[in-house]
Symmetry: C2
DNA sequence: CGTTCCAAGTAACGCGCGTTACCAATCCAG
DNA sequence: CTGGATTGGTAACGCGCGTTACTTGGAACG
């Protein structure tokens, strides 16, 4: 790679950007002609010859359009705002990635603003408002509001000024369209997988029973059992904190409660962190996975699921897909199309690894 | 493709568009006066009375400045571009968060562009270039280029047009300033901690020995041992793949190699994933942590370190701090200040948990 | 009373671009 | 040869705002 000896100088010279006017002069045409060519107008008539002359000039001068000026003149920015809690977020990054990729494909830009601030003491509601305010100042054409765990949220008032789509959460006021994981189908597929492997006595390590994830996943489990002619035994459902320790304790309780012959042969852990704790409880008792006890998780937290030994079979939350779908929905909304549905459910695929 | 079926409606939805002119009329002053008040010009003379009248008008009309127009007129955007690989990134999110928070404090905006694309087949170098190009079209005032693991990188040529700072990586061509973790000090502090706990026979589970992280951390370990009058025993250093399985195998090798009395009483795992595997190897042998064997990790991958049982004592990579420092450095550069140093090292703090 | 000076504000230009209206030349049909 | 329809462009306005130069009414000053 040939090093330019004075990159700084080059930068300093380039500081004053090349404008469309420069291109026009260089090509010996009007600025309008350049604009027409660059924006590929259909109805404008520019001869093939001047068209190439203009393109050559663009190339020669290294012209780069000024997105801000374009936005100002055309009254559209091609920007979407994404508001999310970054701090606690093992998941947020996946939503961002999904949205970002889709936005990129659609030639749109994503402005990401934090809805929480590390240094914020007290209610950070004000900061969230400020974030949205900032995004609106940038004249974003739409807003994505993402949560890191499935729940109902109240979206600040100012979000109403622009089309808004919720991701991994839903509007507690029931106004805005949202995109959430299909927890029920996920719970169903997890238990179906265990049934298919021959397990009929399945312990369930539950989350806090009131959150949407727990409700849906448990309901799905019940459905799967019902299809197999089984009933969900309330005694086999133990709730715990959504941590490895919580999972450990719940698993201990469920494993020690029964004599060996009645012991469940499989555990459905409603998230991977609890599965991590359950692994310890199982191993401590000299039992093997999946030989003695099969384990299935939920969430597909890569760092856990893919690195546990044996690797954890789990149901994935479709964050990337939700992010992408959010952008698509927003694109449809800003284009004036009617909303597809108040709430779109996205499938949670089963990821087979080695714990069943 | 999808043309807006109801353009009128879309226009109606479009932002209210109250401009400075509206504010001016409402307050009975000139637009210039409004501009002066809003930008808090020192040398301009506006009476306190009209100043409040203008502010009231702003409030009453719900005026929101147009950032794009402001950028166009003032020739500065208050935007920085952040280019990073989002896809594989358990870490990227922390860099983003650190940078984002700092940018927010400085009243600047971060435009995040992906340097890798999921759907990109073949060399994605072109996409990275395209991303930077897009950022430059937005007239970002500076560029942050972040990697998800410490390494040398080649930054695309176009990044030279604007001040650029590298985060968690360094310029292989040695031109651009960078911010990287102080791996050596991190390795030192880890081993010091083990020495302080009374361990003198310390096994080291190494990464691929050529990457900067491995080199630095091992060198730090050597220094710490030297200070204690000890030497690093090459036999106690085993390399493995940077995964839980790799850590498991390496730990097995090191634990089984010696009779009990010569067995190391502590393991320094050069990353947390390997520590996760080492845990399994230790537990399998009926040994306890930290009773029989102390373990210390590196990276502080929250999902692992905080949820392993016992929780893993580890050295943290200062991603957030690096992100913040990156923004600060960029701010200094764009303000025309001389660069502080070609390479800034950021401390890796020890996080005490329960495995030592 | 004439001059100077200053507070308080305004008119007007330009940032880079999209867009509409308009113009000049050519090309046929009648 | 005239007139309408194309082809190939251009002039000029406006997007919302920052900024510079300029104006004005009145107070201070000599």
């Amino acid at each position: 790679m040939a090093k330019s000896t004075t990159p700084n100088k080059a930068a300093a010279v380039r500081q004053r950007g090349v404008t469309m006017n420069d291109v026009a002069k260089h090509a010996g045409v009007s600025r309008t002609a350049v604009s027409f060519v660059l924006s590929n107008r259909e109805n404008a008539s520019i001869s093939e010859e001047t068209r190439t002359r203009i393109n050559d000039a663009v190339q020669a001068l290294g012209y780069r359009p000024n997105a801000g000026a374009r936005a100002l003149a055309s009254q559209r920015s091609d920007w979407y705002g994404l508001v999310t809690e970054i701090v606690t977020a093992p998941f947020a990054v996946d939503i961002i990635k999904g949205a970002q990729d889709q936005a990129w494909l659609d030639r749109r830009f994503l402005l990401i603003a934090p809805s929480d601030q590390a240094d914020a003491v007290g209610p950070n509601k004000g900061l969230e408002d400020a974030a949205i305010e900032k995004l609106l100042e940038q004249r974003v054409e739409g807003l994505l509001y993402a949560a890191t765990f499935h729940r109902g949220v109240h979206v600040p008032q100012s979000a109403n000024e622009v089309p808004t789509v919720l991701i991994n959460c839903f509007d507690a006021d029931g106004k805005l369209p949202s995109i959430v994981p299909d927890e029920r189908a996920g719970g169903r597929v997890a238990v179906e997988r265990l049934l298919q492997a021959g397990h009929t006595r399945i312990g369930i390590i539950n989350l806090d029973p009131v959150i949407p994830a727990a409700v849906g996943r448990l309901e799905g489990a019940r459905e799967a059992l019902a299809v197999a002619g089984l009933e969900l035994d309330p005694e086999l459902v133990v709730s715990g904190y959504a941590t490895a320790d919580g999972g450990y304790e719940a698993a201990c309780e469920i494993l020690d409660r029964y004599p060996e012959k009645d012991r469940p042969t499989a555990l459905f852990c409603l998230n991977d962190r609890m599965a991590m704790g359950a692994y310890d409880a199982i191993k401590e008792r000299g039992l093997t996975i999946p030989g003695d006890i099969a384990v299935i998780g939920f969430d597909n937290q890569e760092l856990i699921a893919a690195y546990l030994r044996p690797k954890l079979t789990t149901v994935a939350l479709p964050f990337q897909k939700m992010g992408a779908l959010g952008v698509q929905t927003l694109a449809a909304l800003t284009a004036g199309q009617p909303i597809i549905a108040d709430q779109q459910l996205v499938d949670c695929p089963l990821l087979e690894r080695s714990s069943v």
